[in-house]
Symmetry: C2
Subunit: 305 residues, 2 copies
């Protein structure tokens, strides 16, 4: 009987994998640098090696399945990454099939934002609900929608691209072709861009901008207010669309919550009748960057249902 | 064995009800003026009379159930209309319970936009898919989301309020508290407001503005282009969120399709990577204002499943 699964979370900078028990406890975790600049062959080799390591240590007979979370627009049925800002070397290539060939076992592919949302639903801040929306605020913004306990995929697996909601119709151009995408106005990258434009410094991180804001710098505070407003516009729309009980925020920008949340919540109050008049929760995710690992590892169990 | 159901569609101006066979054929249809200005008691009496008529003619024993489509934000579990621009007299009142008491039978309540989307899924342009989003472009804009063959309700039944998507963050104020709601920029009301502001006339209908545009009036053409752009922003977001195969447009503004659709589709091309690269269909609904009737009548059959 299967006792554990393997989840892998591939990011632009890190590749993390874990053997996770059926109950959702991490048995072993491996983290290596992803180095996408070394090309596709290197990346595939790294992933196969990491998964192979875990499988050989925890046993082939007990393995319930392997789930892979990867960034970008994914064609689920084909197992192909259509478009990924961070992993261009894996685009339009039979990614899942090649991984299956090398590992000689089925692989379940998932968008990283969806995997993170699923992880929070399984073991995190969403474990008491069946419906939630999660936004991961990092270099970009990933989204994941859990409806009736499962990832909402759409017909090709490209649903949940919430980083590309339009929040400023004539705003900053985005790699996806749109202008004013949420991720151009509320990601870590957006925070440092705004800080640069306001003359706060050329090589600040979003954490650096947060420090400035916390030390009373009004320009830095404005940056977080603008970012919170953009986030509030997007979340208000999601509340109006889904009327789900829970919306989670995650990612590297989350520690700046006290700086952006007031403007975000004020915007939601104004813009969503549903938010204003119901008990809708906006909360911090709790699994940090392990959410995607948990979610990827959970994929084989729900696929078997 | 139940052979038919009764669907009722309550609008701001008309009250329509029909006895519909299990196979989805309308057996008899009644349409009366809704007259909400005559107050709640009058409206309840009218609805009870119309349903009573149909039931007495088609038989109590064969009746599978009664579905009611009503406009506004609805608390489904409570059977209460929270907020309705068109039917304020029914707000915050135990609407479903009172109807059940008077008719001595269970009633299934549904938002009118959801009912219309469900009707198109059952018998209309959506009958070949399990997932669709529908927008009804009328005095306001109603939305309905069908996911896995059922209405997506959210935890209170308030999901699908797509008329209140923000398409112009600092746009026209809306009764819901927001600014720049889709329905303030792409409904029939929005079309006549824009026409008025552009000096085309003070008492034009949206059909009148359409005639002007078709006769070469450039201001009138601009009105439909702006309306199409607003619609395109909203639809591009819905494509990015849901990745559903089908998005339907319906309502009184639909005949102006040739005037607004080019700008709408252009905006979607630009704003949605998913739309640009997949076979996503944007189509006209085909049941007209009977969609809500069909959907309301379908409610008892899916509730029984």
């Amino acid at each position: 009987m299967p006792e554990y699964s393997i989840g892998l979370d591939l990011g632009g900078t890190n590749l993390r994998a874990a053997a996770v028990s059926r109950e959702g406890d991490i048995l072993e975790k491996i983290s290596v640098s992803a180095s996408p600049q070394k090309g596709r062959e290197h990346l595939l080799g790294e992933m196969v090696a990491v998964i192979g390591d875990l499988r050989s240590r925890w046993g082939t007979g007990q393995l319930g399945g392997i789930g892979l979370g990867v960034p970008g627009f994914i064609l689920l049925k084909d197992g192909v990454i259509r478009n990924s800002n961070n992993l261009a070397c894996l685009e339009d290539f039979p990614f899942r099939d090649e991984m299956e060939r090398r590992l000689q076992t089925p692989i379940i592919l998932e968008n990283d934002g969806n995997a993170a949302a699923l992880g929070e639903k399984w073991r995190g801040a969403g474990r008491d609900v069946d419906d939630l929306v999660m936004l991961t605020l990092g270099t970009g913004i990933g989204g994941g929608i859990i409806s009736r306990g499962r990832v909402l995929h759409g017909f090709l697996g490209m649903a949940g691209e919430l980083g590309h909601l339009t929040v400023v119709p004539n705003g900053t151009p985005c790699g996806c072709g749109n202008r004013g995408c949420l991720e151009k106005h509320a990601s870590a990258t957006a925070i440092t861009s705004m800080a640069r434009l306001l003359g706060l410094g050329d090589d600040l991180t979003s954490a650096g901008v947060y420090s400035l804001a916390s030390n009373g710098n009004e320009h830095a505070q404005t940056v977080f207010r603008c970012m919170g407003e953009a986030l509030g516009i997007a979340l208000a729309m999601m509340v109006n669309v889904f009327n789900f009980p829970l919306y989670l925020l995650s990612g590297g920008v989350l520690p700046a919550w006290d700086r952006f949340a007031p403007a975000m919540l004020e915007e939601m109050q104004r813009r969503s009748f549903t938010f204003r008049t119901t008990e809708t929760k906006i909360e911090k995710a709790i699994l940090g960057n392990e959410a995607g690992l948990y979610g990827a590892a959970y994929l084989p169990w729900i696929a078997a249902k």
